[in-house]
Symmetry: C2
Subunit: 774 residues, 2 copies
């Protein structure tokens, strides 16, 4: 007789717990217990008075919707039930109650068996719940492999260690949020319309604020923990839930609160931060205008200083200058950080930020402020986006957020930053945290989509060898090709963003943000486009199931669709990244004397020669193809070569007398290619570095395999460029393709544990999050 | 003084018409008049009793929402109004009424000027309508260039001739449908919920049926025109409107009606076709099952013949065999064509089709039939998809659709097609029309998305040279790169589908459908993926505007998202295409004697050698790159090379003893690549051929430019493959990229006329089609 620890453990259970195990097994059959099921089950169990009170606790813990049994645990129940089912008479209908009685009689506590009235109560319970117990017993008896058992799941490392890697330093915070999100108060009523959805989202934000999550980035003096990293970790974890909640949360605490915190001085912090963090004071971040979305520098709202009254006059000069798409504006915001052109003493000093009251506490707009609802959107309808017009609105001088520049009572303008351009970019850099957060939120949505699609692909069967059972569709190479490289890339992006968040949070107050900002722009574009791509693929990989609203993909797609163009349009961000690279490049050359220059070019050529060595170019060995050194060099070479040729092309055009603006337009697609290449290099380098820091060798091995799959598939996707540059030869391109196929086969058995490690609360994935109406 | 014909024409207008021209100008300022605006304007105009009745008709015609003024006409109004505005005093506020009076006084009919009470009436009207007349007059006076005038629009051919090319042989039918769709009865109430949306869609379908559009493909004897081509042209044109309508229309008339028509015999035609075409008899096409979506051959519903009663017994053996996703089932369908495994005399003869009543005329399900609503979906919520279970439902023997096989009263099975496999595919081939239709519907949705994005990109301004006005974003290379190759590809797909439809409709009753079917599978996948890609790009290219529900992109995206996986999952279809190519290839070789074989291989090699000629490989001349010969050869070479290598790889594996199934799995991604290449070749070849048939040299030139852009961008996108095969060298790949850029610049000024040629009714594009609730 086998005496595995698992078996022993089940056998040690008291008979009354064993008797209801069949019911627990059924309750968790679909991987979740909904709040309604939970309520019903608890009520019913309460009626079974023959269960000892202390055992009841065990049972209730097992029914906790937020804490489902692990797959191992569940399979252990299943095995025990099968054995019991096999011991029962093999003909006729058998109820779960009979199976429970059988279980109770083989239990480990002396096996007193089940009293008759208890057996009858179980029968009644089964009937009330409407469970087709006999079919379940038949299935257990038939030993027909269930998809759950069958789905290949082999992870060559500890699942917990893998999750710990993903959760990083704020695992406790993340788990706290996971528990919160599993609370029934966060569950959805899919019949909510837009208005009710908005109120629900506001209510949820309040709950989160009460938990101290809104203020995480603010100084301790104002109820916070002074750690933007924690705030971003919270934001990322919340993104497993309704994304309207996340965006509202980000607008209030990240953008509005962040602008007061980062652009304001102590006076503003004292006046506002605590109330912002507690959501006593809902507010907006009013930057975008109808005519100026991306081109913030040219926005047209004015803030004109009046020294007679020591006020600023905020004005919308024409309809195109109205504030547009402002989150929290249509309904809840009371204040707004308004970005406007500052005029004083007859001079314009460019864009600055001002605190402007827009709505009274009774909900009506302030005088001379007009507010309109943006109306129904593709998604994110729980966020109240609005338009705002200011008609000569007067605010006190003190309402200017004056950390970087101030206007004295007499109207004199003063700033420590002499250049207007630099001042502008310093102020904009407050957006960096928002971009990192959006990138991470997108990554969470990609994880949700992959979790749904991988689990489906591991269970859904279609076609198969002649006269044999159909096989899980994830066994098909085409299906693996669609999901697994994207899964690997999601791990890579996660790691890169984790690393960037750390760098961002660890900087000193006087450290330059330039590097972080460039990486944030690059990764925001890279991550959000990836998410759009992943969710589209996930939808298609689930076929019609993915199209049903009850499945979360529809909402994930609709909600994240705007991520690629808000918080900085991806293409515009990439052009900024490329321009940054070009000026670094120019600076490097400008600062060099002739000797250095020659050395630089020589060493550069040296590197290139090594990298373009014919032996390497043709090397198709699997070991070489999987060598991270090869990947790192390929990504670096690509960014550098694209940078050099872009610089060359620009220089030639400008040298030929072309206007700089026109020259940039002509090479614009080259610049986007360069910035995309740089983004991928950043992702690889940071993932690679983070893997090297992992202590657990098994986890390291799994991550390395994912990194290899990510890198090789990226090179494969862009093999056109690498071939064109003669960096690789055709034979090597083919070998890379075969290696990607091989890696897909290797990763396939661990696909499901890899998405399990995201630890997405069941409540988030499986409860319908749709806000659609019948 | 200028005397252009346009000026003369305006001057010839009577004074009372001229007096209201400023109002007409304002009414059409946003390119459309909504039904509500229309009602209000008509009512108000009716009050102006000084307008001569016959002139009122002219004015009313100009207010027809379905017949907006052309851009030329509108600009002509604008120019005349500007001149009049310039003649008015240049200071102070000026109303539209004053401008109207001025217009009336310079009119061509003796210019009697406007009586005072008429002027007062105009003033009152202006006030009632809440038009900011003074701002409009100021704008006209300032001669500030309007975006409308400014947007580059140059088409080097007649717009009408281009539209005629696109509309093809059924232009009249298409125009009839455009007019229908512009009728207010087809306009939307965005506050409709799902239930009302479904009823509205049914009502619309009835209107279309009354117009004879549903029966177009049916024989004349049953109210039709016996022309599937007309039906498909109607389907495509309807796809400019709400896609729920289109899908419902397709289910009723194409799938349900088509199955009775194609799989039934005359008895069935007589009994059902007329009522199906008039929508007296709403029905379903019940093929897919929960467990068997793609793998139709293995579906599990049974139809067992009972010779005692001469009935078939239709049964759903288990829950996985329920009919799933059946359109028209949840609500309206009364009959269903049910696909089931036919059992008679103890034998199973595979899948056959049966007419099964599922719902009584009072709306309740038939006895032993269970129906469930699939519930809310990502899109297409105006279609009532349902699930259906049959519990031993008995139907008369005559209900078997017996064109290809029949069961005699005694239970004997008889079919002219001896092979079960062949019989199955013959029956499935009824799906071909559906696939072509879906591909064309997708193409229409792509056109809508492009029309929105191109018009927006031609008007939306952002950034610009230092100290100069901002420029339309379509002037940016990155923006051109996103939209223009996709526009070219849309023209290509349109042409290929038009050609395929013609071939499909022109076939004789005994012609093999094999070629058409393979092309339909290929193009369905190619077109629907293109649409998903185009709509995503269009959404992003419109930024936040694209995300607003009032803009159609949100619904187009949501509605078409399922196109890639319904009516045959794209990946599964492509694998079928590849398998077809492989068996043709095998057959070709099998049928050859040794002599032919040698010749074939030699000639094949010969072609290859020429094509891989180093001179060609390196040829970077623009003339060569734009030569259709180059494109045709490149696409052909790619398909052939991929086919040969796929065959080689399969043969090797099978030769090494691998199971055929496993061998196919191993090369599956290769097969998908092959089928995609073949699809692109089909699109190119058919577009190229259709261009050669165009008589108008200017139209031909425009189309050729689009074809070149499509082809070169396709080669550029897959340059990895061409470089890997050494078909082109790196220098040529770079030259192709530059040529695509150059073509984008050349196509850019005609971008808007190119989308205008789709002739999408304004009512479809600009009225909110969202079925979302506040």
């Amino acid at each position: 007789m086998e005496t595995s620890p698992l078996r022993t453990k089940i056998n040690e259970l008291p008979f009354d717990v064993l008797a209801v195990l069949p019911l627990l097994y059924v309750a968790w059959a679909d991987g979740m217990i909904t709040p309604t099921e939970h309520k019903e089950l608890r009520k019913r169990l309460h009626e079974l008075d023959w269960i000892a009170p202390e055992h009841r606790e065990t049972i209730e813990a097992w029914l906790d919707p937020s804490n489902p049994p692990s797959a191992t645990e569940y399979n252990q129940w299943r095995r025990a039930l099968r054995r019991a089912a096999a011991d029962l008479p093999q003909s006729g209908r058998t109820s779960l109650a009979t199976l429970g009685a059988e279980m109770a009689s083989v239990g480990g506590d002396g096996a007193p068996g089940l009293p008759d009235e208890a057996r009858q109560a179980l029968h009644d319970l089964e009937a009330t719940l409407g469970v087709a117990g006999d079919e379940i017993v038949d299935e257990l008896r038939a030993d027909r492999p269930s998809p759950e058992d069958d789905a290949p799941k082999q992870l060559p490392c500890s699942p917990d260690a893998l999750q710990a890697y993903l959760d990083g330093p704020h695992a406790d915070l993340r788990n706290r949020i996971r528990t919160l999100l599993s609370d029934p108060v966060f569950s959805y009523d899919p019949s909510l319309g837009t208005d009710a959805h908005r109120e629900r989202v506001l209510y949820w934000c309040k709950l989160l604020a009460n938990e101290g999550l809104g203020a995480l980035a603010f100084p301790k003096a104002y109820g916070g923990e002074g750690d933007i990293r924690k705030f971003i970790a919270a934001f990322e974890t919340l993104s497993y839930h309704d994304l309207s909640l996340v965006v509202k949360f980000g607008v209030q605490f990240g953008l509005f609160g962040g602008s007061v915190h980062r652009l304001g001085s102590q006076r503003h912090h004292e006046e506002y931060l605590e109330d912002i963090g507690s959501l006593e004071l809902p507010g907006c971040f009013a930057m975008s205008e109808l005519d100026h979305g991306s081109n913030v520098r040219d926005l047209e709202t004015t803030a004109t200083y009046d020294p007679d009254t020591e006020e600023f006059v905020i004005n919308t000069p024409h309809d195109g200058a109205r504030k547009e798409w402002i989150g929290n504006a249509a309904k809840h915001g009371r204040l707004a950080t308004v970005f406007a052109q500052l005029h004083t003493e007859g001079e314009c000093y460019g864009v600055h930020a001002f605190i402007v009251p827009i709505r009274r506490s009774n909900g009506t707009p302030q005088p001379r402020v007009r507010i309109e609802d943006c109306g129904e959107k593709m998604g994110l309808n729980g966020v109240d986006n609005g338009r705002v017009w200011f008609d000569q609105v007067r605010i006190p001088r003190e309402n200017m957020l004056d950390r970087y520049a101030t206007v004295h009572p007499d109207g004199t303008y003063e700033s420590d930053i002499p250049s207007a351009g630099r001042r502008f970019f310093t102020m904009l850099s407050t957006l960096v945290g928002g971009r990192i957060s959006v990138a991470r939120s997108a990554c969470s949505a990609a994880k949700s989509g992959l979790a749904i699609a991988v689990r489906y692909g591991n269970r859904r069967r279609q076609f198969g060898p002649q006269d044999e059972p159909e096989v899980p569709i994830l066994d098909y190479r085409t299906h693996q090709r669609r999901l697994l490289p994207r899964l690997a890339k999601t791990y890579a992006i996660h790691a890169a963003l984790e690393n960037l968040t750390e760098q961002f949070g660890a900087r000193g107050p006087d450290d330059s943000l330039e590097d972080v900002e460039a990486a944030a722009n690059a990764l925001k574009a890279y991550s959000t486009w990836h998410t759009t791509d992943v969710l589209q693929t996930a939808r298609e990989a689930c076929g019609g199931k993915g199209y049903l609203a009850e499945n979360r993909i529809a909402d994930l797609k609709a909600d994240t669709d705007v991520y690629t163009t808000f918080e900085g349009d991806n293409t515009v961000l990439l052009l900024q990244v490329a321009k940054g690279l070009l000026s670094d490049f120019q600076r490097e050359f400008r600062d060099m004397n002739v000797f250095n220059m020659v050395q630089f070019v020589a060493s550069d050529l040296g590197t290139r020669l090594t990298e373009k060595n014919p032996l390497v170019r043709r090397n198709t060995d699997s070991a070489h193809l999987r060598d991270p050194e090869f990947h790192a060099k390929a990504f670096r070479y690509r960014s550098e070569a694209l940078l050099q040729s872009a610089a060359r092309r620009l220089k030639k055009r400008i040298g030929d007398g072309m206007d700089t603006y026109d020259a940039f337009i002509e090479v614009q697609d080259h610049l986007v290619t360069l910035a995309k290449a740089k983004s991928e290099q950043i992702v690889f380098d940071r993932f690679d570095a983070s893997i090297r820091e992992v202590d657990d060798a098994e986890v390291r091995e799994v991550l390395r395999m994912l990194c290899t799959l990510f890198a090789l598939e990226a090179i494969e996707s862009d093999r056109g460029w690498f071939l064109e540059q003669n960096y690789i030869e055709g034979s090597k391109a083919k070998a890379i393709r075969h290696e990607v196929n091989a890696l897909c086969s290797e990763v396939r058995p661990m696909a499901e544990p890899l998405v399990d490690a995201f630890a997405i609360p069941n409540a988030c994935l499986q409860a319908p999050i749709a806000v659609k109406q019948a």
